[in-house]
Symmetry: D3
Subunit: 250 residues, 6 copies
Amino acid sequence: MNHPARLALCTWRDVEAYLETSRFILLPIGSTEQHGPNGIIGTDHVTAEAIALGIGDKIAALVAPTINVGMAAHHMAFPGTMTLRAETLIAVIGDCVRSLYAHGFRGFGFVNGHGGNTATGRAAMSGLREELPDAVIKWAHWWEAPGIGSTARELFGNREGQHATPSEVSMTMALYPNEVKTVDGPLDIESCRPRGIPGSVEFRKLYPDGRMGSDPSLATVAHGQRFLQLAIDGLAPKAAEIAAQVAPST
Amino acid sequence: MNHPARLALCTWRDVEAYLETSRFILLPIGSTEQHGPNGIIGTDHVTAEAIALGIGDKIAALVAPTINVGMAAHHMAFPGTMTLRAETLIAVIGDCVRSLYAHGFRGFGFVNGHGGNTATGRAAMSGLREELPDAVIKWAHWWEAPGIGSTARELFGNREGQHATPSEVSMTMALYPNEVKTVDGPLDIESCRPRGIPGSVEFRKLYPDGRMGSDPSLATVAHGQRFLQLAIDGLAPKAAEIAAQVAPST
Amino acid sequence: MNHPARLALCTWRDVEAYLETSRFILLPIGSTEQHGPNGIIGTDHVTAEAIALGIGDKIAALVAPTINVGMAAHHMAFPGTMTLRAETLIAVIGDCVRSLYAHGFRGFGFVNGHGGNTATGRAAMSGLREELPDAVIKWAHWWEAPGIGSTARELFGNREGQHATPSEVSMTMALYPNEVKTVDGPLDIESCRPRGIPGSVEFRKLYPDGRMGSDPSLATVAHGQRFLQLAIDGLAPKAAEIAAQVAPST
Amino acid sequence: MNHPARLALCTWRDVEAYLETSRFILLPIGSTEQHGPNGIIGTDHVTAEAIALGIGDKIAALVAPTINVGMAAHHMAFPGTMTLRAETLIAVIGDCVRSLYAHGFRGFGFVNGHGGNTATGRAAMSGLREELPDAVIKWAHWWEAPGIGSTARELFGNREGQHATPSEVSMTMALYPNEVKTVDGPLDIESCRPRGIPGSVEFRKLYPDGRMGSDPSLATVAHGQRFLQLAIDGLAPKAAEIAAQVAPST
Amino acid sequence: MNHPARLALCTWRDVEAYLETSRFILLPIGSTEQHGPNGIIGTDHVTAEAIALGIGDKIAALVAPTINVGMAAHHMAFPGTMTLRAETLIAVIGDCVRSLYAHGFRGFGFVNGHGGNTATGRAAMSGLREELPDAVIKWAHWWEAPGIGSTARELFGNREGQHATPSEVSMTMALYPNEVKTVDGPLDIESCRPRGIPGSVEFRKLYPDGRMGSDPSLATVAHGQRFLQLAIDGLAPKAAEIAAQVAPST
Amino acid sequence: MNHPARLALCTWRDVEAYLETSRFILLPIGSTEQHGPNGIIGTDHVTAEAIALGIGDKIAALVAPTINVGMAAHHMAFPGTMTLRAETLIAVIGDCVRSLYAHGFRGFGFVNGHGGNTATGRAAMSGLREELPDAVIKWAHWWEAPGIGSTARELFGNREGQHATPSEVSMTMALYPNEVKTVDGPLDIESCRPRGIPGSVEFRKLYPDGRMGSDPSLATVAHGQRFLQLAIDGLAPKAAEIAAQVAPST
């Protein structure tokens, strides 16, 4: 590979050369939202970005700049959370895909770090697929990669939970080992057991410190390294498959 | 300072604590667009981010995640460029400011890395100022920081140009020393002397390799370090002034 | 109950009286899209409407007029399919909820007949929950009602499939016994086994007669009556729970 | 005719066959709004639907699903009224027409049950006619059908009025004879004589029980049957004319 | 009256003083579209403006700047026609009314010069009346002023027609006597007799020189002066009535 | 020249003939906003219109109707100011350009009278240039015409200021000599020296009578005539250049 995975670090001539061999690109999409007592606000975008770059390195695919702010309205009762309206995120996803399509890209693999983005992401992709019928547009969450779920159960049992999970917090620790924030555990997971995702005011009542049934006191740098690798290795074949599907004819 | 400058690396409790002492935040905004023969596509967002983080460190201010894709329609004839429509960028800027405002932020300092964003940014801010009358919303380009212009003239004379300039390319080299791309110089600056910014098709005719009157063969890591420092030092007082203006009453 | 379940059949004074005892309303939402060789194009809205009215009768709740056209872009390669853009459906859902909220309704139970609506519906609800924080807004598919899945397996085994299923076609037969359309079976379910939901052109290639892994030759009026009853009985408690949650204080 | 008039009850193959013989479709559009002391909230959509289906049966034309909620902002001071914003209704009408146009439909006959829809409907059609220049898009109110006006005068004299009229209330009685709501008459028509259509707050002051100069105590099932037939017979030739104009060439 | 009728010619202090005595303003709205062989493209906005200013002078009311471009999509097959999309005109009308409302204006009298604006204008006003419930927003066409219709019949008989009429062309001649364009008459009115307003392509086929059943060869400066005066005198009482209705309490 | 400069005063056949010789049109764009103690609210649109018409006369170019209301949110604390939202103005500019482009116009020269329009105007043009790649779309402020700046300095020294300037007020006096409003001078320019353009509330605090560092007591009719002529003569060559660039091939 004679180009970096990050599109941002390429020259336009690098991209021109890349398009002769591949018409596939990865697009990390995350969120900027509270992640419990020791999870960082950027958890969902720093993990999505790291995993997408890992896949890009592994299969020699380009990675577009990360969409850092997503749909996090329900976390807005916690300071620091940022959110787009659904219409805005649909427009952002559309403009990004249309820009890249104009250059010849035909395979688009979103690497998603935040469950709350999925509904709006699917809404956006539904329209794009009709507008650009020869494009292949796919969406993957890192936590659906093979091995992630079983490893989380193995390491954390029923303390993985649904938001501010030890697995995602571990990954951010692996990415920013100098910024590790600790919290004394074990944390009570009963008081914040998942009971749906209501509006933000109600959300904070149900989940007072932002966790949903998780115990992020279990997070460690080492666990994070393992999860990052699992996510990269697990999603790379899927990405390679799209890349093959839209490969330029020779 | 007991919090990192990057909002993304804070917990929500860090932000809660921050808001008791400051209601100011920096928002880097860049672009993803061609930057000539050896400039990287992410030039405008990596520089805006680095400078904003530098200011944040210097004055202990938070820095929101970077808006990586801006208004770059006129660069779309070069592969890899990404652009939002004006309506989309107005919506993105609005949603970001409204989210932060909801938590109590009142001072918003955009650190801009791309001249093409300014018109749309100003259009967005004009509406926001009426919608949120007690907010102070400001916009600064790094190249307007005191000392930048004179240093560029000193180092590059009339070879600084207007796009894909040696100063911005130098900064990206300083930020990514392992990704430095060289181009043999001196480059002819007459054939691409600035003659306005037309639509993308015409743009590429006027500026065949993407430069506008610049000679980025002059870029070096050392120059880049100097420009980054000048931008940070030059804009920090302006940021501190807004922060003081909106400081929480005690 | 001295009012009909259908809001459309009430006078405004009926609604005024209803609001003194309940602030809950059901909103059926469906689609107008191909449903395979013998399934009718209105399958998803006629079933959603019938089930919502059944629940309304059972728990004495009002039912708003049905949203007949939803998100069916991926079915557009089959004549007769109609679709809204995601932005349009978000606006429609928002305007409907806002109208009813203005009269004092606080509990909104969407009864959905089409999986393709869910992403956009969730995107819409996410914004509405922040805009109307004291509203409870929920979304239910009829096929998630307890008993539906097991009954489908019992009756159809692996021939239930994912689109144009014998269960939904049965329900339309029960609702329109004079319009029953037959198709000779058994139908080959291997050639149309579910392989994702791509854009419409690709969709028709993967699923040439519109079915996704289903054998609707198994559909009967009697099965339909059973599924309708299961859906009504299965979702009614959920609806009653929301109604109780938002009941007017006395 | 080997297909039902309701598009919703067709299979996609029925529509495919229909398009070989006709490129015309009827689109009922109504409203969900108060209709005085004994008129039902769905009056405008149940009548538009019934009349469109009657025309469809008579001239063997397809009828799209009804747009149930229209422009009723001025009725919002009466509980149960629902309204779309003008921008939303323009989008809904546009998406419906575009979907059907994509399948080959070229004649679009809106059958309107609510005067308040007309302005927005015309605004929508104006744009669609330029976007789809080979489409014929027409709009008809049932009350403009020949014979309706004279019959209303004959039966009700100056007690027909402008909203919650005995003619429209009669039609809903004919359609839902089990839901007939009576009101003791004669009703005073002077206190609610039509004095324009202001905003909703003012509207309720001018028209305290929702009627505009009408006496719906005169409504009967038999009158309703007569009006429905007049509307169907009166509008059918107009619909047949459009159908002929856009008939597929053979 | 110590202020000019044109808002544009007032200082802000004039407006401040005006608002102490009146909260009413006239808003001329026209179109920029073909007006037959000798009618000018600005007919509808120059007449609306002149009539509004005449009313303003007569009743000492302010007149906002004219909305010069309206809804003229169906005239687009004739060079020089300009049109807004319906959504755009709704936004323009809304922004203008909201701006003036913010200063204390409560009565808004649109003086319309183009029938094609009415649908979109009504759609816009419907929403504004709910958004600004204490505002009185009215719409008047000049040709509905008492005396206009009878005078046109008296002068032109059945040669008045519906578009590019001798009455409106006369008014533009009276306003711009140095720009009078003549056309030899009598013009054939049968070949262009009004047969509806289709899309622009069809429109030009039905009305090849832009007239709809009119004979503008009959237009004269003197007739125009008469029509202008009739329109001003006829609409002024209506305007005065709104002004009185919203007059500031003293 | 056998056509008037004002498009509004042409027939469609005049425009048809014009397009055979020129594909260029001027579009005046102004604002409706306070202009200090003796400046009129329409200053920016009456000057833009007059200058555009002057250029049109000089180079035989057509001039479209003026966009009278622009972006003036920051002046909204002064009665009489009107403003569009940025999204609305982008739509208006787009619809106007698209309409004219449809007739064959390819050169579009905006003549701007208000600095506050520029950001939004540029945002609009950026998108239009990509949508209509063979169009040349330019924007000019009258105050950038050669000779304006030096003359203002010569006549008014440091009392020209930035808003409600003696130069623009002079021009409106020249255009409306019967409406000249005087103010006793010299006015204090220190108390209102330009300190940025904040939101409207803050704006009025900084600039209590609406002036920004200007002394419009110096304005006279004679000065206004001189500035108008300078602006026309200064911008005409630029307009002629675009006209030549897009001239129809012969």
